[in-house]
Symmetry: C2
Subunit: 351 residues, 2 copies
DNA sequence: TCGATCGTTTTGATCGATCAAATTATTCGG
DNA sequence: CCGAATAATTTGATCGATCAAAACGATCGA
């Protein structure tokens, strides 16, 4: 295969110096029109493309974002992260950024990958997805001045540390709206199926239910079911709830996996019309007609990139250390209603 | 942030020359034990990491694989590709390879990305997923000597062109086995829900059904239903099949999406025990207890990497042009049986 | 003891771009 | 029409590694 043309080749062809070619590429506004056109023509004719490695070596920027792909767990809820990665690839592309993925077994492993990718100047900045209580990664990244943004709040730590840029979705508001909507449609005993505490995301979503369900404390205790994520677990919980002396007339779940399980339990119990709401609006929810709280992933990704790179651009903004510019963003989800909540209207009051 | 140490820093600390440090890293066997240990100690103490960009510039290798993430379609079947990408990240990691993702709107767009990434020496080799009939990408890649491997056969082109390395799963065998299994359990009229022709993958899977279903041509026509992929489409097809004067006593589908739709149709028709088999063994299938043909993605990824990089190593093997070494691999899927095919045993013969 | 041979280490050049500073061309007020 | 200020372009150095070839040192047979 023929050698790729370099700046020098272009320079020779256009009768200018290397630097002028470089300028046409990077700061075209300082090159005279006449010259710029001539150079551009040479570039096109030769099919020149800048060598990314050389540029990176010199500029110490890679215009590349790193993101970890977890070993998939459930596969249904995990789909959110996949969707996130897709969106990230799309929007990064639009900004002329590259996205590099890596997999890691645990947090320590992830950090060692991050270190390797960064020290090798392979990657400029990282996106973390899914933050935990007292997530050790965040402290490490902040301490080591690694530019990053997380999709997920710093649970258990002050949320306004400017050195930690984050984007998140207000799950509490999302669940609250869902509950209110169900109430509006006639539901009185709305149950909750969620994850064990402490779970940042899970506790927050549950809080939305507590806030809006209008149940007494003892009823809350009776109608809240805590379990690991997963369809089977959701089903078991729902079975238990439906067997209560005063069963719920609607169920809100912390995830679509749980909700799908609940849906199956309801159908098995002959309660095919029990309104159920999930969370994440995964493709499965759409497929089976399950209402679900939808996270605005497009906006999440856009916000994440903006926090890292600014309005438009491919250069990472330095790690902020003061609150001059906002360093986090909380977005509002929205309920997507499908058959599972419309049933109340179809002449089949669930209670 | 302090400057990262370079080979020179290490060399100075270990009282050797840069090249010796480089040798310790790349060809340790030619360095004397004594020296190697001393250098290694210096590397550890300084926390030295080779700069990937510099290395790439010099060696003209990036040790990076590129892969396109489609804008997601269905989301259920698309999950296979996501799983593939995960596995790829994991196994690439084990070989010290990096994976870069990009998104593209269409085939042309994908090619222009590939060109950019390759000409910039960002990426050494590409993985294509999902090949179509007369896929234009393949001809282009072969013509331009871009190293690549595809997950998917060259439908409509000779499959043994050594310049096209590919891995695929024998969908025909997978479906055949599923059909035989259903027959073994007593099913006589096994229906097929699949995609419109020509579709490489789809036609192949259907061929498996034709081969094993043991139906007359006219019965085949009656019991085969063709539709786009998607849960709703699957459901519509199944509704039609179940309304036949002689309805099927089992259904095999070209995808889990279709199968999920079929499952819903069966349940709605009070045929909760109708055996249904999907394809791809997605998380959803597992969640709802749907039997499905599972593609051995671990093996697929391993084979893809092996075709590109050899037994072990991070250097792309040159584009082969003769058949000295095998350049493709066809793997066998396996049926994962769940409730939906066991029902025949549970005392509810479907026929 | 000398030169040939082998294994080990070092030196100089290079990959392809950008940075910083120097140089040349142009504009403009007086 | 001149010199200062500004715009446009060029030159030399550099990023951090590896390649290719040269230099070095030890071993060994003649």
């Amino acid at each position: 295969m023929a050698r790729m043309p370099t700046v020098d080749d272009v320079a020779r062809a256009a009768q200018v110096s290397r630097q002028t070619v470089s300028n046409v590429l990077n700061t075209p506004e300082i090159v005279r029109d006449n010259t710029r056109e001539r150079v551009q023509r040479a570039i096109d004719e030769l099919g020149y493309r800048p060598n990314a490695s050389a540029r990176r070596l010199r500029t110490r920027r890679s215009a590349t974002i790193g993101i970890r792909l977890d070993p998939l767990r459930d596969g249904i809820s995990g789909a959110v992260l996949d969707r996130f990665v897709h969106k990230l690839a799309e929007q990064a592309d639009a900004r002329d950024l590259r996205v590099m993925i890596f997999s890691a077994a645990g947090n320590d492993d992830e950090l060692s990958h991050i270190r390797r990718l960064r020290d090798g100047s392979d990657v400029d900045a990282f996106v973390l997805i899914g933050t935990d209580h007292g997530d050790p990664r965040i402290a490490w990244l902040v301490d080591h001045h690694v530019p990053f943004v997380s999709f997920g709040r710093p649970w258990g730590a002050p949320a306004d540390d400017p050195r930690h840029r984050w984007v998140d979705v207000d799950g509490r508001a999302g669940v609250r709206d869902a509950v209110l909507r169900l109430a509006e449609r006639g539901a009185r005993r709305i149950a909750w199926i969620g994850w064990p505490s402490p779970s940042g995301t899970g506790d927050e979503r549950r809080a939305g239910w507590v806030e809006a369900c209008g149940l007494s404390e003892s009823d809350q205790d009776a109608l809240a079911c805590v379990t690991e994520d997963g369809v089977a677990h959701g089903r078991a919980c729902a079975d238990r709830l439906l067997a209560l002396p005063e069963p719920p007339d609607a169920i809100v779940c912390a995830s679509d996996s749980l909700a799908l399980g609940a849906l199956m339990a309801a159908q098995a119990a002959g309660l095919g019309d029990l309104p159920i709401v999930g969370f994440d609006n995964t493709p499965v929810a759409a497929a089976v007609g399950l209402s679900s709280v939808d996270q605005p992933l497009d906006d999440v990704v856009a916000a994440a990139l903006e926090l890292l790179f600014g309005e438009s651009g491919e250069t990472v903004r330095p790690n902020p250390d003061s609150n001059e510019e906002p360093t986090h963003r909380l977005l509002v989800p929205r309920l997507v209603e499908r058959r599972s909540t419309h049933l109340l209207l179809d002449g089949n009051p669930g209670a």
